[in-house]
């Protein structure tokens, strides 16, 4: 909501946002790369814990700094944040320091007892990830049993009287027909639906071609959001769809490094949670003198806050609303950052995807090297046998006798 006595046209908030704020308004903090699941589209390629992950006292220092910067709330995620043994302590520590927490979880640790304790805590929001309104659709992407885990967590929260949990859905080709079912599910648990865009980030890059909504599904999604958008949360997910017509509710610009930011489990600061790649690494809060120093002074963020070229989008009549779409979606599909989004509703993205392009290799990957018991079908389908033995074992072909 915006309050201004003067003419809004001369004083558009998005213009201020594009120049960057003194502190982020949409800060994501991933506490661990460890996860009990192995979702096929995981944006942070999570699985294994990183031995360099911030300790409890380092995390407390980050919270102290966020309090000083008046970052009023932080979106905590992972990996699966609740499997950190100090997770509940850090949650209380943040709340006690005027940093509200919204955490994303697959529900694995949300027992009835924990749900009751959460219901008694102010300033905590819980977001349960669910990528299908049925077990069949969900578990194909998130792994066997993950639907049941999420629904049990939602039941536990509702039974404990926790008001207004969030159900967070990544919109895919396979679940776009279930939007009404998701809304009904949210109603059943007194929850709010949150819809987000599938971006080709992390392991998402491997499945994006198969899972991203088709053009006619994008249209259906847009129409659905026009009809129901005031009841669902979308963040900055769908501003590229506003080129269909009216602007949708939500943040209508790419805020990466300007109002959006990610702190990863080892303290690396990236422009956006969907941009875990060396190219978007602004610094490290341990090595570079704290989060504020990185936020205010990093050369990457400074350059993102300068006017950006519209490139191939500059002639488009929808540019004012669409702004060329999502930087991460372009980067990880190998498209120029100053051109159309791969899902440009004018079809320019498809044309660009059809031309020769090179998709950047991921530079940060914590996926497990061995499959888990509940590995999603979609991931199994993608797992190809290693090309050579050495692709599996770093010691393959090494013989101590020979080199001695």
């Amino acid at each position: 909501m915006t309050i201004a006595p003067e003419k809004p046209a001369q004083n558009r908030l998005v213009d201020h946002f594009e120049r960057g704020l003194d502190a982020p308004i949409c800060l994501t903090w991933e506490l661990t790369y460890a996860c009990n699941l192995a979702c096929a589209h995981c944006l942070s390629s999570s699985g294994r814990r990183d031995p360099r992950e911030l300790t409890t006292s380092q995390c407390e220092a980050v919270i102290d700094e966020l309090q000083r910067m008046q970052v009023f709330y932080v979106n905590v995620g992972g990996g699966e944040p609740t499997i950190r043994p100090d997770f509940w302590h850090l949650l209380d520590y943040a709340v006690d320091h005027q940093v509200g927490v919204k955490f994303s979880t697959n529900g694995v640790r949300l027992t009835p007892d924990r749900a009751r304790r959460l219901a008694a805590t102010d300033y905590v929001d819980v977001q349960i990830s669910l990528d299908g309104a049925t077990a069949e659709v969900n578990d194909r992407v998130r792994g066997a049993g993950s639907y049941a885990t999420a629904v049990t967590a939602l039941e536990n929260l509702a039974d404990a009287g926790f008001g207004d949990a969030k159900i967070s859905v990544v919109c895919t080709r396979e679940n776009i027909d279930q939007l009404d079912d998701f809304a009904a599910l949210a109603d059943r648990f007194g929850a709010t639906l949150r819809l987000t865009r599938l971006r080709p980030s992390g392991r998402g890059a491997d499945v994006w071609d198969d899972l991203h909504p088709l053009p006619h599904q994008q249209r259906r999604l847009y129409d659905w959001l026009c009809a129901h958008g005031d009841r669902v949360l979308t963040g900055d997910s769908f501003f590229h769809l506003s080129a269909f017509g009216e602007a949708l509710p939500g943040l209508n610009l790419c805020g990466a490094g300007r109002v959006v930011c990610l702190i990863d489990p080892v303290g690396d600061v990236y422009a956006c949670p969907f941009a875990i790649h060396d190219q978007f690494l602004a610094g490290n809060l341990l090595r570079d003198g704290g989060f504020q120093r990185v936020w205010k002074g990093s050369p990457l963020f400074t350059s993102l806050r300068e006017p950006q070229s519209a490139g191939a989008c500059s002639g488009c009549q929808h540019f004012d609303a669409c702004r060329g779409g999502c930087m991460a979606a372009k980067f990880f599909t190998g498209l120029p950052l100053d051109g159309p989004d791969p899902e440009c509703v004018q079809g320019f993205g498809e044309d660009a995807l059809a031309r020769p392009r090179s998709v950047p290799a991921s530079s940060v990957d914590h996926s497990r090297s061995t499959p888990t018991r509940n590995q999603p079908v979609l991931l199994q389908l993608r797992t190809r046998p290693p090309a050579t033995a050495c692709a599996e074992s770093p010691l393959a072909g090494f013989s101590p006798e020979e080199s001695a």
């Binding site: 909501m1 915006t2 309050i3 201004a4």
Partner: protein, 95 residues
């Protein structure tokens, strides 16, 4: 409203920004943008003045703009960013 005593809501924190300030309500978790420095000054002055009008004057808002600012303040009141002050006396003595 303009002749009444008002104050910043106790659950609200203001964060200065180049364009004005962000107001965050810890209860409703709503974020509101105060898009001009003058409006931020007014909101900060409210508690120290007998009524909204004298807060506007103290913040340097010309009388001709008082109604426009009162409308903006009404919007803030609706979101519980500011509240009527129960005691009629200013929180601090006016100098």
């Amino acid at each position: 409203m303009i002749d009444e005593p008002w104050t910043l809501s106790p659950s609200v924190a203001l964060r200065p920004e180049p364009f004005g300030a962000l107001a965050y309500h810890f209860g409703s978790r709503r974020l509101t943008f105060l898009k001009t420095p003058a409006l931020v000054r007014v909101v900060r002055e409210l508690a120290d003045h007998a009524d909204v009008r004298s807060a506007l004057t103290a913040a340097g808002v010309p009388a001709g703009q008082h109604q426009a600012y009162a409308a903006a303040l009404a919007g803030l009141a609706e979101a519980d960013m500011i509240r009527p002050r129960v005691s009629a006396a200013p929180a601090k003595e006016e100098r």
